[in-house]
Protein backbone atom coordinates (compact mmCIF):
# COMPACT_ATOMS: atom_id res chain seq x y z
CA UNK A 1 0.00 0.00 0.00
CA UNK A 2 1.02 3.60 -0.59
CA UNK A 3 -0.47 6.84 0.60
CA UNK A 4 -3.72 7.93 -1.01
CA UNK A 5 -3.32 10.90 -3.36
CA UNK A 6 -6.69 12.06 -2.12
CA UNK A 7 -7.79 13.59 -5.38
CA UNK A 8 -11.48 13.84 -6.21
CA UNK A 9 -12.98 12.99 -9.58
CA UNK A 10 -14.44 15.81 -11.67
CA UNK A 11 -18.24 15.82 -11.73
CA UNK A 12 -19.20 14.11 -14.98
CA UNK A 13 -20.64 16.37 -17.66
CA UNK A 14 -24.20 15.93 -18.90
CA UNK A 15 -25.81 17.48 -21.95
CA UNK A 16 -27.16 21.02 -21.62
CA UNK A 17 -30.36 19.64 -23.15
CA UNK A 18 -33.00 21.42 -25.24
CA UNK A 19 -33.89 23.93 -22.55
CA UNK A 20 -30.47 25.35 -21.68
CA UNK A 21 -31.85 28.81 -22.47
CA UNK A 22 -34.21 28.66 -19.50
CA UNK A 23 -31.21 28.60 -17.19
CA UNK A 24 -28.59 30.59 -19.08
CA UNK A 25 -30.55 33.12 -21.17
CA UNK A 26 -34.03 33.18 -19.60
CA UNK A 27 -35.02 36.50 -21.18
CA UNK A 28 -34.23 35.04 -24.60
CA UNK A 29 -36.42 32.05 -23.65
CA UNK A 30 -39.31 34.38 -22.79
CA UNK A 31 -38.91 34.08 -19.01
CA UNK A 32 -38.82 37.74 -18.12
CA UNK A 33 -38.80 39.52 -14.79
CA UNK A 34 -36.42 37.13 -13.06
CA UNK A 35 -33.09 38.60 -14.22
CA UNK A 36 -32.75 42.14 -15.54
CA UNK A 37 -30.71 41.03 -18.56
CA UNK A 38 -29.23 37.82 -19.85
CA UNK A 39 -25.66 37.36 -18.67
CA UNK A 40 -23.03 37.76 -21.38
CA UNK A 41 -25.34 39.57 -23.80
CA UNK A 42 -23.09 42.65 -23.89
CA UNK A 43 -19.29 42.49 -23.93
CA UNK A 44 -18.53 46.10 -24.84
CA UNK A 45 -19.74 49.58 -23.94
CA UNK A 46 -19.11 53.07 -25.37
CA UNK A 47 -15.72 53.31 -23.72
CA UNK A 48 -14.26 49.95 -24.70
CA UNK A 49 -10.84 50.26 -26.30
CA UNK A 50 -9.93 48.60 -29.58
CA UNK A 51 -11.27 47.78 -32.99
CA UNK A 52 -14.98 46.92 -32.98
CA UNK A 53 -15.82 43.71 -34.77
CA UNK A 54 -18.79 41.41 -35.20
CA UNK A 55 -18.50 37.64 -35.12
CA UNK A 56 -21.27 35.70 -36.72
CA UNK A 57 -21.59 32.01 -37.35
CA UNK A 58 -23.54 28.79 -37.06
CA UNK A 59 -23.07 25.41 -35.40
CA UNK A 60 -23.74 22.81 -38.09
CA UNK A 61 -24.50 19.12 -37.53
CA UNK A 62 -23.43 16.09 -39.55
CA UNK A 63 -26.43 16.42 -41.87
CA UNK A 64 -25.55 20.03 -42.71
CA UNK A 65 -28.32 21.50 -40.56
CA UNK A 66 -27.56 24.47 -38.30
CA UNK A 67 -28.40 23.88 -34.63
CA UNK A 68 -31.20 26.13 -33.44
CA UNK A 69 -30.93 25.15 -29.80
CA UNK A 70 -27.21 25.60 -29.14
CA UNK A 71 -25.55 27.97 -26.68
CA UNK A 72 -22.19 29.48 -27.60
CA UNK A 73 -19.81 31.17 -25.17
CA UNK A 74 -16.62 33.03 -26.02
CA UNK A 75 -13.68 34.19 -23.92
CA UNK A 76 -10.96 36.47 -25.16
CA UNK A 77 -8.27 38.99 -24.29
CA UNK A 78 -8.91 42.73 -24.65
CA UNK A 79 -7.41 44.83 -27.42
CA UNK A 80 -4.18 45.12 -25.45
CA UNK A 81 -3.83 41.35 -24.95
CA UNK A 82 -4.96 41.15 -21.32
CA UNK A 83 -7.71 38.98 -19.83
CA UNK A 84 -10.34 40.43 -17.51
CA UNK A 85 -9.74 37.71 -14.91
CA UNK A 86 -8.25 37.48 -11.41
CA UNK A 87 -5.75 34.95 -12.82
CA UNK A 88 -4.39 37.59 -15.19
CA UNK A 89 -1.24 38.78 -13.41
CA UNK A 90 0.43 40.66 -16.26
CA UNK A 91 -1.60 43.83 -15.85
CA UNK A 92 -5.08 45.29 -15.61
CA UNK A 93 -7.40 44.59 -18.51
CA UNK A 94 -9.70 47.22 -20.01
CA UNK A 95 -12.40 47.67 -17.32
CA UNK A 96 -14.92 48.43 -20.06
CA UNK A 97 -14.52 45.04 -21.69
CA UNK A 98 -15.80 41.84 -20.08
CA UNK A 99 -13.95 39.44 -22.37
CA UNK A 100 -16.76 36.92 -22.01
CA UNK A 101 -19.87 36.62 -24.15
CA UNK A 102 -22.76 34.21 -24.40
CA UNK A 103 -25.22 33.87 -27.28
CA UNK A 104 -27.91 31.33 -28.14
CA UNK A 105 -28.15 30.35 -31.79
CA UNK A 106 -31.24 31.95 -33.29
CA UNK A 107 -34.49 30.03 -33.60
CA UNK A 108 -34.92 30.84 -37.30
CA UNK A 109 -31.51 30.41 -38.92
CA UNK A 110 -29.35 29.09 -36.11
CA UNK A 111 -27.00 32.09 -36.13
CA UNK A 112 -24.95 33.39 -33.19
CA UNK A 113 -23.64 36.96 -33.10
CA UNK A 114 -21.08 38.65 -30.86
CA UNK A 115 -20.30 42.36 -30.83
CA UNK A 116 -16.78 42.56 -29.49
CA UNK A 117 -13.28 43.90 -30.11
CA UNK A 118 -10.37 42.27 -31.85
CA UNK A 119 -8.14 40.76 -29.15
CA UNK A 120 -4.44 41.49 -28.81
CA UNK A 121 -1.81 38.77 -28.86
CA UNK A 122 -1.07 36.84 -25.67
CA UNK A 123 1.96 34.72 -24.80
CA UNK A 124 2.23 30.96 -25.04
CA UNK A 125 3.92 29.20 -22.15
CA UNK A 126 7.37 29.21 -23.74
CA UNK A 127 7.24 32.93 -24.42
CA UNK A 128 6.28 32.72 -28.10
CA UNK A 129 3.30 34.87 -28.92
CA UNK A 130 0.04 33.27 -29.95
CA UNK A 131 -1.88 34.78 -32.86
CA UNK A 132 -4.98 36.78 -31.88
CA UNK A 133 -7.71 34.27 -31.10
CA UNK A 134 -11.00 33.80 -29.31
CA UNK A 135 -11.83 30.73 -27.24
CA UNK A 136 -15.20 29.13 -28.04
CA UNK A 137 -17.27 26.74 -25.93
CA UNK A 138 -20.35 25.09 -27.43
CA UNK A 139 -23.11 23.21 -25.63
CA UNK A 140 -26.44 21.87 -26.89
CA UNK A 141 -28.85 19.00 -26.79
CA UNK A 142 -26.97 15.96 -28.09
CA UNK A 143 -23.56 17.27 -26.99
CA UNK A 144 -22.54 15.28 -23.92
CA UNK A 145 -19.60 17.45 -22.92
CA UNK A 146 -19.01 21.07 -23.92
CA UNK A 147 -16.82 21.48 -26.99
CA UNK A 148 -13.79 23.77 -26.83
CA UNK A 149 -12.29 25.33 -29.92
CA UNK A 150 -10.67 28.60 -31.04
CA UNK A 151 -11.34 31.17 -33.71
CA UNK A 152 -8.40 32.85 -35.44
CA UNK A 153 -8.49 35.83 -37.81
CA UNK A 154 -7.97 35.47 -41.56
CA UNK A 155 -6.43 38.96 -41.77
CA UNK A 156 -3.55 37.88 -39.49
CA UNK A 157 -1.70 35.51 -41.84
CA UNK A 158 1.74 36.19 -40.41
CA UNK A 159 0.70 35.71 -36.79
CA UNK A 160 -1.30 32.62 -37.72
CA UNK A 161 1.70 31.12 -39.51
CA UNK A 162 3.69 31.13 -36.27
CA UNK A 163 0.89 30.35 -33.82
CA UNK A 164 1.96 27.51 -31.49
CA UNK A 165 -1.42 25.77 -31.74
CA UNK A 166 -2.06 26.19 -35.45
CA UNK A 167 1.41 24.91 -36.38
CA UNK A 168 0.68 21.68 -34.48
CA UNK A 169 -2.28 20.71 -36.65
CA UNK A 170 -1.04 17.69 -38.57
CA UNK A 171 -3.59 17.74 -41.38
CA UNK A 172 -2.90 21.18 -42.75
CA UNK A 173 -6.17 21.56 -44.64
CA UNK A 174 -7.95 21.49 -41.26
CA UNK A 175 -6.27 24.72 -40.12
CA UNK A 176 -8.85 26.59 -42.18
CA UNK A 177 -11.62 25.29 -39.90
CA UNK A 178 -10.29 27.64 -37.18
CA UNK A 179 -9.70 30.75 -39.30
CA UNK A 180 -12.62 33.14 -39.81
CA UNK A 181 -12.78 35.12 -43.05
CA UNK A 182 -13.42 38.85 -42.80
CA UNK A 183 -15.82 41.05 -44.72
CA UNK A 184 -15.87 44.65 -43.54
CA UNK A 185 -16.03 44.44 -39.76
CA UNK A 186 -17.72 41.03 -39.76
CA UNK A 187 -15.93 37.74 -39.26
CA UNK A 188 -17.83 34.58 -40.13
CA UNK A 189 -17.06 31.50 -38.06
CA UNK A 190 -19.11 28.41 -38.87
CA UNK A 191 -18.49 25.46 -36.58
CA UNK A 192 -18.94 22.01 -38.12
CA UNK A 193 -19.57 19.21 -35.63
CA UNK A 194 -18.87 16.42 -38.14
CA UNK A 195 -17.94 15.61 -41.70
CA UNK A 196 -15.25 16.75 -44.13
CA UNK A 197 -15.24 20.25 -42.68
CA UNK A 198 -15.27 19.12 -39.04
CA UNK A 199 -13.85 21.89 -36.87
CA UNK A 200 -10.70 21.11 -34.90
CA UNK A 201 -11.92 20.72 -31.32
CA UNK A 202 -9.56 20.91 -28.38
CA UNK A 203 -8.87 18.78 -25.34
CA UNK A 204 -7.69 21.54 -23.04
Amino acid sequence: MVQDLGYLKESPSQTAGPYVHIGCTPNFAGITGVYEADLGAAMVNDKTLGERITIRGRVIDGAGTPLKDALVEIWQADAGGLYNSPSELRGAADPNFSGWGRCPTSADEGVFTFETVKPGRVPYKDGRRMAPHITFWIVARGINIGLHTRMYFADEPEANAEDPLLVRIEHRHRVATLVAPREGSIYTFDIHLQGEKETVFLDI
Binding site: I22, A63, E73, Y83, S85, V122, W137, N144, R168, Q194
Partner: protein
Amino acid sequence: MSDLSNKKPETGAFFQRDRAWHAPALTPGYKTSVLRSPQKALLSLDGTISEITGPVFGHSILGELDNDLIHNFAKPGESAIGERIIVHGRVLDERGKPVPGALLEFWQANAGGRYRHKKETYLAPLDPNFGGCGRTITDEDGGYRFRTIKPGPYPWPNGVNDWRPAHIHFSVFGHGFAQRLITQMYFEGDPMIWKCPIVTTIPDRRAIEHLIAPLDWANTIPMDARAYKFDIVLRGRRSTLFENRLEGN
Protein backbone atom coordinates in the same frame (compact mmCIF):
# COMPACT_ATOMS: atom_id res chain seq x y z
CA MET B 1 -16.75 40.78 -12.62
CA SER B 2 -14.68 41.26 -9.51
CA ASP B 3 -11.90 39.89 -7.39
CA LEU B 4 -12.82 36.97 -5.18
CA SER B 5 -10.93 37.59 -2.03
CA ASN B 6 -7.57 38.59 -0.66
CA LYS B 7 -6.09 35.26 -1.63
CA LYS B 8 -3.57 35.30 -4.44
CA PRO B 9 -5.19 33.98 -7.59
CA GLU B 10 -3.88 30.70 -8.90
CA THR B 11 -2.38 30.53 -12.37
CA GLY B 12 -1.49 26.86 -12.79
CA ALA B 13 -2.76 24.84 -15.74
CA PHE B 14 -5.59 22.42 -15.07
CA PHE B 15 -5.29 18.68 -14.57
CA GLN B 16 -5.85 16.72 -17.73
CA ARG B 17 -9.51 15.88 -18.10
CA ASP B 18 -10.27 12.16 -17.63
CA ARG B 19 -12.20 11.65 -20.84
CA ALA B 20 -12.99 8.01 -19.99
CA TRP B 21 -14.85 9.17 -16.89
CA HIS B 22 -17.13 11.47 -18.90
CA ALA B 23 -19.60 10.37 -21.55
CA PRO B 24 -18.06 9.88 -25.00
CA ALA B 25 -19.33 12.23 -27.72
CA LEU B 26 -21.10 9.49 -29.66
CA THR B 27 -23.73 7.66 -27.60
CA PRO B 28 -26.26 6.13 -30.04
CA GLY B 29 -28.73 5.33 -27.25
CA TYR B 30 -29.13 9.10 -26.98
CA LYS B 31 -30.11 9.64 -30.59
CA THR B 32 -29.41 13.36 -30.91
CA SER B 33 -25.72 12.71 -30.23
CA VAL B 34 -25.36 10.76 -33.48
CA LEU B 35 -25.19 13.81 -35.77
CA ARG B 36 -23.80 16.18 -33.16
CA SER B 37 -20.70 14.26 -32.04
CA PRO B 38 -17.27 15.16 -33.40
CA GLN B 39 -15.68 12.13 -35.06
CA LYS B 40 -12.08 13.20 -35.24
CA ALA B 41 -9.63 13.11 -32.35
CA LEU B 42 -9.51 16.22 -30.19
CA LEU B 43 -6.30 18.23 -30.44
CA SER B 44 -4.76 18.19 -26.98
CA LEU B 45 -3.42 21.42 -25.57
CA ASP B 46 -1.94 21.92 -22.12
CA GLY B 47 -3.68 25.01 -20.80
CA THR B 48 -2.41 28.40 -21.95
CA ILE B 49 -3.34 31.73 -20.45
CA SER B 50 -6.47 31.66 -22.63
CA GLU B 51 -7.89 28.70 -20.70
CA ILE B 52 -6.24 29.23 -17.32
CA THR B 53 -8.05 32.56 -17.00
CA GLY B 54 -11.80 32.87 -17.05
CA PRO B 55 -14.64 35.23 -16.24
CA VAL B 56 -15.49 35.63 -12.55
CA PHE B 57 -18.73 37.20 -11.41
CA GLY B 58 -19.38 39.40 -8.42
CA HIS B 59 -22.32 39.12 -6.05
CA SER B 60 -23.60 42.42 -7.43
CA ILE B 61 -25.15 40.59 -10.39
CA LEU B 62 -27.46 38.67 -8.06
CA GLY B 63 -31.02 39.66 -7.27
CA GLU B 64 -32.60 38.94 -3.91
CA LEU B 65 -34.73 36.04 -5.19
CA ASP B 66 -32.26 34.57 -7.67
CA ASN B 67 -31.69 31.60 -5.35
CA ASP B 68 -35.38 31.06 -4.62
CA LEU B 69 -37.23 29.35 -7.47
CA ILE B 70 -40.32 29.02 -5.31
CA HIS B 71 -40.77 32.78 -5.40
CA ASN B 72 -38.67 34.36 -8.16
CA PHE B 73 -41.37 33.98 -10.80
CA ALA B 74 -44.41 33.89 -8.53
CA LYS B 75 -46.98 36.60 -8.13
CA PRO B 76 -46.64 38.58 -4.89
CA GLY B 77 -47.91 36.49 -2.00
CA GLU B 78 -48.02 33.29 -4.04
CA SER B 79 -45.54 30.48 -4.51
CA ALA B 80 -44.75 27.62 -6.86
CA ILE B 81 -46.61 24.33 -6.44
CA GLY B 82 -44.67 21.22 -5.48
CA GLU B 83 -42.52 19.53 -2.87
CA ARG B 84 -40.49 22.26 -1.22
CA ILE B 85 -36.77 21.47 -1.11
CA ILE B 86 -33.43 23.08 -0.32
CA VAL B 87 -30.51 22.11 -2.55
CA HIS B 88 -27.12 22.87 -1.08
CA GLY B 89 -23.53 21.73 -1.22
CA ARG B 90 -20.04 22.81 -2.04
CA VAL B 91 -18.07 23.43 -5.19
CA LEU B 92 -14.62 21.85 -4.84
CA ASP B 93 -11.82 21.17 -7.24
CA GLU B 94 -10.10 17.84 -7.80
CA ARG B 95 -7.59 18.68 -5.07
CA GLY B 96 -10.48 18.97 -2.62
CA LYS B 97 -10.03 22.73 -2.37
CA PRO B 98 -13.20 24.82 -2.13
CA VAL B 99 -13.94 27.04 -5.12
CA PRO B 100 -15.24 30.39 -3.82
CA GLY B 101 -16.93 32.87 -6.14
CA ALA B 102 -18.19 30.19 -8.53
CA LEU B 103 -21.31 31.20 -10.43
CA LEU B 104 -23.91 28.43 -10.50
CA GLU B 105 -26.96 28.67 -12.77
CA PHE B 106 -29.70 26.07 -12.49
CA TRP B 107 -32.86 25.26 -14.41
CA GLN B 108 -35.54 22.63 -14.16
CA ALA B 109 -39.06 21.47 -14.99
CA ASN B 110 -41.96 22.23 -12.66
CA ALA B 111 -43.46 19.74 -10.19
CA GLY B 112 -45.45 18.14 -13.02
CA GLY B 113 -42.41 17.68 -15.24
CA ARG B 114 -43.21 20.58 -17.56
CA TYR B 115 -40.66 23.19 -18.72
CA ARG B 116 -41.59 26.78 -19.41
CA HIS B 117 -40.36 26.71 -23.01
CA LYS B 118 -42.04 27.20 -26.36
CA LYS B 119 -40.63 23.97 -27.77
CA GLU B 120 -41.96 21.89 -24.87
CA THR B 121 -44.90 19.71 -25.90
CA TYR B 122 -45.60 17.60 -22.81
CA LEU B 123 -49.27 17.69 -21.84
CA ALA B 124 -48.59 18.39 -18.15
CA PRO B 125 -49.65 21.92 -17.18
CA LEU B 126 -47.50 24.98 -16.58
CA ASP B 127 -47.45 26.41 -13.09
CA PRO B 128 -48.17 30.15 -13.43
CA ASN B 129 -45.94 30.76 -10.41
CA PHE B 130 -42.91 28.80 -11.57
CA GLY B 131 -40.31 30.04 -14.08
CA GLY B 132 -37.67 27.35 -13.58
CA CYS B 133 -34.38 29.28 -13.43
CA GLY B 134 -32.13 30.46 -10.62
CA ARG B 135 -28.52 31.27 -9.81
CA THR B 136 -26.12 31.85 -6.97
CA ILE B 137 -22.42 32.36 -6.26
CA THR B 138 -20.42 30.19 -3.86
CA ASP B 139 -19.18 31.67 -0.59
CA GLU B 140 -15.61 31.66 0.74
CA ASP B 141 -15.89 27.95 1.63
CA GLY B 142 -17.27 27.03 -1.77
CA GLY B 143 -20.74 26.60 -0.25
CA TYR B 144 -24.02 27.36 -1.99
CA ARG B 145 -27.73 26.84 -1.41
CA PHE B 146 -31.01 27.54 -3.11
CA ARG B 147 -34.69 26.86 -2.59
CA THR B 148 -36.95 25.26 -5.17
CA ILE B 149 -39.60 22.62 -5.70
CA LYS B 150 -38.73 19.06 -6.62
CA PRO B 151 -39.08 18.74 -10.40
CA GLY B 152 -41.23 16.00 -11.87
CA PRO B 153 -40.05 13.32 -14.30
CA TYR B 154 -41.19 13.64 -17.90
CA PRO B 155 -41.33 11.72 -21.17
CA TRP B 156 -39.17 12.76 -24.12
CA PRO B 157 -38.92 11.74 -27.75
CA ASN B 158 -35.97 9.40 -28.08
CA GLY B 159 -37.08 5.80 -27.74
CA VAL B 160 -40.83 5.16 -27.91
CA ASN B 161 -41.12 5.27 -24.14
CA ASP B 162 -38.16 7.14 -22.68
CA TRP B 163 -38.51 9.25 -19.54
CA ARG B 164 -36.14 11.61 -17.82
CA PRO B 165 -35.78 11.04 -14.07
CA ALA B 166 -36.39 14.10 -11.91
CA HIS B 167 -33.33 16.33 -12.32
CA ILE B 168 -31.94 19.84 -12.02
CA HIS B 169 -29.52 21.21 -14.62
CA PHE B 170 -26.41 23.02 -13.37
CA SER B 171 -24.08 25.35 -15.25
CA VAL B 172 -20.85 26.06 -13.36
CA PHE B 173 -18.07 28.63 -13.79
CA GLY B 174 -14.88 28.05 -11.82
CA HIS B 175 -11.92 30.41 -12.04
CA GLY B 176 -10.61 29.27 -15.42
CA PHE B 177 -12.50 28.79 -18.67
CA ALA B 178 -11.15 25.22 -18.89
CA GLN B 179 -13.25 24.40 -15.80
CA ARG B 180 -16.51 25.33 -17.51
CA LEU B 181 -19.04 22.57 -16.85
CA ILE B 182 -22.69 21.77 -17.41
CA THR B 183 -24.17 18.77 -15.62
CA GLN B 184 -27.37 17.47 -14.02
CA MET B 185 -28.32 16.55 -10.47
CA TYR B 186 -30.53 13.54 -9.71
CA PHE B 187 -32.36 12.55 -6.54
CA GLU B 188 -31.50 9.66 -4.23
CA GLY B 189 -33.77 6.65 -4.56
CA ASP B 190 -35.20 7.39 -8.01
CA PRO B 191 -35.44 4.08 -9.93
CA MET B 192 -35.72 5.97 -13.23
CA ILE B 193 -32.12 7.18 -13.09
CA TRP B 194 -30.83 3.85 -14.36
CA LYS B 195 -33.34 3.66 -17.22
CA CYS B 196 -32.44 7.05 -18.70
CA PRO B 197 -30.49 7.09 -22.00
CA ILE B 198 -28.96 10.47 -21.10
CA VAL B 199 -27.77 9.36 -17.67
CA THR B 200 -26.30 6.18 -19.10
CA THR B 201 -24.23 8.03 -21.68
CA ILE B 202 -21.81 8.09 -18.72
CA PRO B 203 -20.07 4.71 -18.90
CA ASP B 204 -19.02 4.31 -15.26
CA ARG B 205 -21.66 3.64 -12.62
CA ARG B 206 -19.50 5.31 -9.98
CA ALA B 207 -19.41 8.46 -12.08
CA ILE B 208 -23.21 8.47 -12.34
CA GLU B 209 -23.42 8.11 -8.57
CA HIS B 210 -21.49 11.38 -8.30
CA LEU B 211 -24.55 13.09 -9.77
CA ILE B 212 -27.09 11.66 -7.32
CA ALA B 213 -27.85 13.95 -4.39
CA PRO B 214 -28.67 12.24 -1.08
CA LEU B 215 -31.50 13.38 1.12
CA ASP B 216 -29.88 15.47 3.85
CA TRP B 217 -32.12 14.87 6.84
CA ALA B 218 -29.95 16.97 9.18
CA ASN B 219 -30.48 20.09 7.09
CA THR B 220 -34.19 19.58 6.53
CA ILE B 221 -36.21 22.51 7.81
CA PRO B 222 -39.03 21.16 10.03
CA MET B 223 -42.53 21.86 8.74
CA ASP B 224 -41.09 23.56 5.64
CA ALA B 225 -38.61 21.93 3.24
CA ARG B 226 -36.47 18.82 2.91
CA ALA B 227 -32.80 19.24 1.97
CA TYR B 228 -30.69 17.51 -0.68
CA LYS B 229 -26.93 17.83 -0.70
CA PHE B 230 -25.09 18.10 -4.01
CA ASP B 231 -21.34 18.69 -4.18
CA ILE B 232 -19.80 19.61 -7.51
CA VAL B 233 -16.17 18.94 -8.40
CA LEU B 234 -14.32 21.04 -10.98
CA ARG B 235 -10.91 20.36 -12.48
CA GLY B 236 -7.90 20.90 -10.22
CA ARG B 237 -4.86 23.03 -10.99
CA ARG B 238 -1.18 22.26 -10.96
CA SER B 239 1.10 24.31 -8.77
CA THR B 240 3.16 26.79 -10.76
CA LEU B 241 6.08 26.62 -8.36
CA PHE B 242 8.39 24.58 -10.57
CA GLU B 243 7.00 25.54 -13.96
CA ASN B 244 8.70 27.86 -16.40
CA ARG B 245 7.39 31.35 -15.99
CA LEU B 246 6.65 33.82 -18.67
CA GLU B 247 8.77 36.89 -18.75
CA GLY B 248 7.17 39.60 -16.70
CA ASN B 249 5.39 37.24 -14.31
